[in-house]
């Protein structure tokens, strides 16, 4: 386990030198313990994007990719994420504000944690669920860079909305931006429903009554006059081919007892799961 920590520290130090030499308070934004995970170009892209967001909004956006988190802690994957965040003193500014996504490849575990006043306020419990839905579909198909890009883009949106005083929370979410509009029907919609639905129902009932007034109808079948039912003399079923479609199951409804962020005594908030 010790060897792994040393490796990780060395990689982080290298990144500090390569990627963000000008920002002493900013750590590198991508941590990993296997060189095969990223190419230099990918590392550079992720770090540049993360640095831009951190500088703009004052909150670090971290990505950690490990072979197996159990080599670093006896706890769970979220404990590992908190450990990495603490050990490397990650986060922006004095408050060490930040959000971190950690992937452990061995058993496809992930943890998403936030720290600091700004980090916790910007990434609420509900917001973390929404954020997970943004990147998990990519990871399920092993599209790592796609997932990380989606993660960074979503983090940027979350921070922008938090800065505007409207952090993403469970009072509303739409596919096109993180709307804070509550799901309350407008009076116009209510009036429309109040007129349209009874109109349709009344029309259906009245048309049904009207149909009863007409009883003279041409017959179109001769079922009553079948003397010998269907005698099948050809009954062939031939298999031709098979097709397969796949659909990622989206979490449609989230159960939250309330709004905001649940922060542990260690100052972290977060969630974990499988990808």
């Amino acid at each position: 386990m010790k060897r792994k920590w040393i490796c990780l520290l060395l990689l982080l130090a290298a990144l500090l030198c390569l990627s963000v030499p000008a920002a002493a308070e900013v750590s590198g934004y991508v941590l990993f313990d296997n060189d095969d995970f990223f190419t230099d170009e990918e590392l550079s892209e992720l770090n540049d994007c993360a640095f831009g967001i951190a500088e703009r909004y004052g909150c670090g956006i971290y990505v950690v990719m490990l072979e197996d988190y159990t080599e670093y802690t006896d706890g769970d994957v979220r404990d590992c994420a908190e450990l990495v965040y603490t050990e490397f003193e990650l986060g922006w500014g004095e408050g060490h504000d930040g959000v971190m996504l950690l992937l452990s490849m061995a058993d496809r575990d992930y943890a998403l944690i936030a720290y600091g006043d700004k980090g916790n306020a910007s990434f609420t419990d509900y917001g973390k669920d929404v954020l997970s839905d943004e990147f998990l579909p990519y990871f399920r198909y092993d599209d790592w860079m796609g997932g990380f890009r989606a993660y960074q883009d979503a983090c940027k949106d979350f921070l922008r909305q938090a800065e505007a005083g409207e952090p993403v929370d469970d009072y509303g979410y739409s596919d096109y931006g993180y709307s804070d509009e509550p799901h309350e029907m407008s009076d116009g919609t209510k009036a429309g429903i109040t007129v349209a639905a009874p109109s349709l129902a009344a029309l259906g009932v009245c048309q049904g009554m009207k149909r009863k007034m007409k009883s003279a109808r041409r017959q179109t079948d001769a079922r009553r006059y079948v003397s010998q039912g269907l005698h099948l003399y050809a009954n062939q079923d031939t298999f031709t081919h098979r097709t397969e479609t796949r659909r990622v199951i989206q979490t449609e409804q989230r159960s939250h007892s309330g709004r905001g962020t649940t922060v542990s005594s260690s100052g972290f908030s977060g969630k974990s799961g499988k990808f």
Partner: protein
């Protein structure tokens, strides 16, 4: 074509005989004697033959109207119309009172408007024109009137004044000519079918669809698909009063006719066949489609139906025809004279229609508004 018609008269007292549906016998209205139709028909067979011959002779001497003169141009059109109508009329003499009866050319049984005696035109229903079967009337005029009143019940959009003020202008038991078609339909249908099953693996929902090409070919046999052979009777009404119970089909006898109108066919069995074909085709296709089981979808891609026509029977079936008049319009109702099934389109009261609409709309809107504004 016979010019004389026949009354079936009571062999006991000479009074007119009428067919009574409840007993299935011919009954004398005067002395109450009852006779089996076959017996009476046998009794009058010789008499009918004579009447038919005499009727044919009279037909040859049909009434001729004087030709219009050039000076009467103003009457040309009317005269022409009268002549056209006259072409479809036949004149007979009532054997009871001697009055001249003017009947439609298809009339086979009627009543004398002067003495009221039921009369039969034997030549209309003999030889090639003789029906194979008849289903005698089981229900009488009172049952038809009662059925009409019942037909009005429960119709919420019926104008209030319709049932109160409309009058039955005419009620008549009619033996309607029908063709009964036997036959077979062979169908050969090819389908594209699919069967799908979905399972979950991890966070993915995987749907596997198996595609099949199916072929179903089979035969359905039909017996006695009825098609009315009278142009005077609306097809929709005649179709809608089905079914008739064929167990009560009897070999034709004129003994069942006294007291009712009877028409001979005026639409040939070739002309009517297309309606029976359509019904047989639809039923066969439906049966073949139903034989495709175990698939989620089955879309026919090719279908061929070959009809093999069998025997065609000619039958007279009992129908009560009631016509009423209301608000300047005629309304026609027909009742199956065997089963009592009543058919007829009724007028719709616009006021009632919109009153019901407003009531349902208002009630639902109030409930919905209360829910939307108070509960949400």
């Amino acid at each position: 074509m016979p010019a004389q018609v026949t009354n079936y008269q009571c062999p006991a007292c000479g009074g007119p005989l009428r067919y009574a549906g409840d007993t299935g016998k011919l009954k004398c209205e005067y002395c109450g004697s009852e006779y089996a139709p076959g017996k009476i028909e046998e009794h009058y067979a010789q008499h009918d033959q004579t009447a038919a011959e005499a009727s044919q002779a009279a037909q040859d001497q049909a009434v001729e109207f004087p030709p219009t003169s050039p000076d009467d141009e103003i009457w040309d059109e009317a005269s022409h119309q009268w002549n056209t109508a006259e072409d479809h009329l036949r004149a007979y003499n009532c054997p009871s009172c001697g009055a001249e009866l003017i009947c439609d050319e298809t009339t086979a049984a009627t009543s004398c408007p002067y003495c009221g005696n039921p009369t039969i035109v034997p030549g209309q229903l003999s030889g090639m024109l003789k029906p194979d079967y008849v289903i005698p009337f089981k229900l009488d005029k009172a049952a038809a009137v009662a059925a009409l009143i019942k037909h009005y019940q429960g119709k919420k959009l019926l104008p209030r004044t319709f049932s109160d003020r409309n009058h039955i202008e005419k009620i008549q038991g009619v033996y309607v000519p029908f063709w009964l078609y036997d036959g077979q339909a062979d169908a050969d249908v090819t389908y594209n079918a699919t069967r799908s099953h979905t399972h979950r693996r991890g966070n993915e929902e995987i749907t596997v669809t198996e595609h099949f090409r199916l072929r179903r070919a089979g035969t359905v046999s039909f017996k006695r698909i009825p098609v009315d052979a009278s142009s005077k009777m609306p097809d929709a009404h005649m179709d809608a009063i089905e079914p008739f119970d064929y167990k009560e089909l009897k070999p034709f006898s004129t003994g069942y006719l006294p007291g009712y109108l009877a028409d001979k066919y005026d639409v040939s069995q070739e002309e009517c066949a297309s309606r029976a074909d359509e019904r047989a085709t639809n039923t066969t296709m439906s049966a073949v489609n139903d034989s495709v089981r175990g698939y989620d979808t089955a879309v026919p891609v090719s279908q061929h139906v070959h009809l093999r026509r069998g025997k065609v029977h000619y039958a007279l079936l009992p129908v009560w025809v009631l016509s009423t008049r209301w608000d300047g319009k005629n309304f026609l109702f027909t009742m199956n004279g065997q089963t009592g099934k009543m058919i007829g389109d009724l007028p719709v009261s616009r006021a009632k229609y919109w009153a019901w609409f407003a009531g349902i709309f208002g009630g639902l809107a109030a409930l919905l508004a209360a829910f939307l504004w108070l509960a949400m």
